[in-house]
């Protein structure tokens, strides 16, 4: 191979590698995108409504208006991601045509297909997908996802589901590492994931792509905890712009993510941030309103 090649796995997964140790922030206006970049976000997620508002207002949540996405791309120089509905390959085609840097096939929007996810190999733009466990992560990677984020429960400000999902994925990987070949065939069946990927995870002891954590992260300590639990980086959705002082909170979460293992830094940056987002306890959410259960 001597010619230039775009859209290879290495190029798609490579951008996620460069985001590691960073914070990706949900933004709904170019002004918020500017605040995020100035605070040290490593990328922004362009949305019409943050998950907390989608949750509060209800209705069908869809891909954002192209004008909004383009205005956010024009405002910042860091990578811009945008969400397509699960299975909505035409929304994904539109996002690729808009030249976003990453497409999030996201359970935060209303699913467009209750059986199939998007065939992500068909795109030049890389995809990030949510997962609650290792089997789900490997199914998404098998479909072409170049980055995984554990789902958590978006729009709640309750980090408990994010904790559950990153712990689940980590413990399932660690279990595979201790298995013999013959046990891995059964593990692949039980995980409902392709054997080759299961074998790769067992041999390397990690996912073949970068793993971020998302869903309910609202404070610097939340972000640092996700990093200590083994995340490569953090998505913060409603947690920043639904708080009392987004500028200060965004910068504090960035610092806590880099110095995740230094409690004195986390203490310092947690001072005087004003009110955190109010939030909802996941236990108070009726099952049909739990977004993490979307995706199959």
């Amino acid at each position: 191979m001597s010619t230039a090649e775009t859209g290879s796995s290495r190029v798609k997964r490579g951008l996620a590698e460069m985001l590691k140790g960073g914070v990706i922030m949900d933004v709904v206006t170019p002004e918020q995108a500017r605040i995020a970049e100035d605070a040290g976000a490593v990328a922004v997620m362009a949305l019409e409504r943050v998950p907390a508002d989608i949750r509060a207002q209800g209705g069908v949540a869809r891909m954002s208006d192209p004008d909004l996405i383009e205005a956010i791309i024009a405002e910042v120089s860091i990578p811009v991601m945008a969400k397509a509905r699960i299975g909505h390959f035409v929304e994904a085609q539109v996002l690729q045509a808009l030249d976003v840097d990453y497409i999030d096939e996201s359970e935060v929007l209303s699913p467009a297909d209750y059986v199939n996810h998007i065939d992500k190999w068909a795109f030049n733009t890389p995809f990030v997908c949510g997962a609650t466990n290792l089997g789900e992560a490997l199914r998404r990677i098998n479909e072409g996802a170049a980055m995984i984020r554990s789902k958590g429960e978006a729009g709640t400000g309750d980090v408990s589901e994010a904790t559950k999902h990153i712990r689940k994925i980590t413990s399932e990987v660690n279990q595979l590492k201790s298995m013999t070949r013959d046990e891995l065939y059964v593990a692949a069946k039980e995980l409902q994931a392709p054997y080759d990927l299961v074998l790769e995870v067992a041999e390397t002891g990690k996912l073949p792509v970068v793993l971020f954590t998302a869903g309910g992260v609202a404070t610097p300590a939340d972000a640092a905890m996700m990093m200590q639990l083994g995340a490569d980086g953090v998505f913060v959705g409603s947690g920043i712009f639904k708080s009392g002082n987004p500028e200060a909170r965004a910068a504090a979460v960035v610092k806590a993510t880099t110095f995740y293992d230094d409690p004195s830094v986390i203490a310092e940056v947690s001072r005087g941030l004003g009110e955190a987002m109010v939030g909802i306890n996941v236990g108070d959410l009726p099952a049909p309103h739990r977004l993490a259960e979307r995706g199959w």
Binding site: S8, G14, L19
Partner: protein, 209 residues
Amino acid sequence: MTSLRDESLGAVDASGPRVGVLALQGDFREHARILGELGARVTLVRRPGDLEGIEGLVIPGGESSVMDKLARAFGLAEPLRERIRDGLHVYGTCAGLIMLADTLLDAIAGQESFGGLDVVVRRNAFGSQNQSFETDLEIPVLGERPLRAVFIRGPVVESVGPKATPIATLADGRVVAVEQGGLLGTSFHPEINGDTRFHEYFLSKLRSA
């Protein structure tokens, strides 16, 4: 609980050169692992005190505007600038090349670099991720075999001052790797494709310094 991240700093060779890897953000663990496997004694650098005793530094790929903010917020930028002026060997990939450039184009408002390389570097010179690519590059200082170079929203060297020397160019003539004494910068990411020749080259210059 065991993290899935590769936290390895490679095999420890007590005689190898002490090399720091800037660990504020980005793919610093890939660099740390490769340097360790090549026999360097690797330390991760986040604070001014971490610079003590290092003979070389690698600045990884990542987001240059984030590295700049964190380096200044935690008091690392100024002491590092001084060490670079005093001859610290530094290799920067992608964002690392941006951090080493004396002059930046298309930086965010107020963005600063550490400087040292007598070059003008344009950030995100190829466009969005859809324009990111990999290609074979001839790099004479590394030998005849071309290097598969991966460019991820990469920068290019727009002009090379008298102190720096281009060591790799794209087919269209744009400069994507430069050298100046102990400083080395590439627009692309040898750390993510398993080719360790740039790291070996950096360490061999450090050993003979």
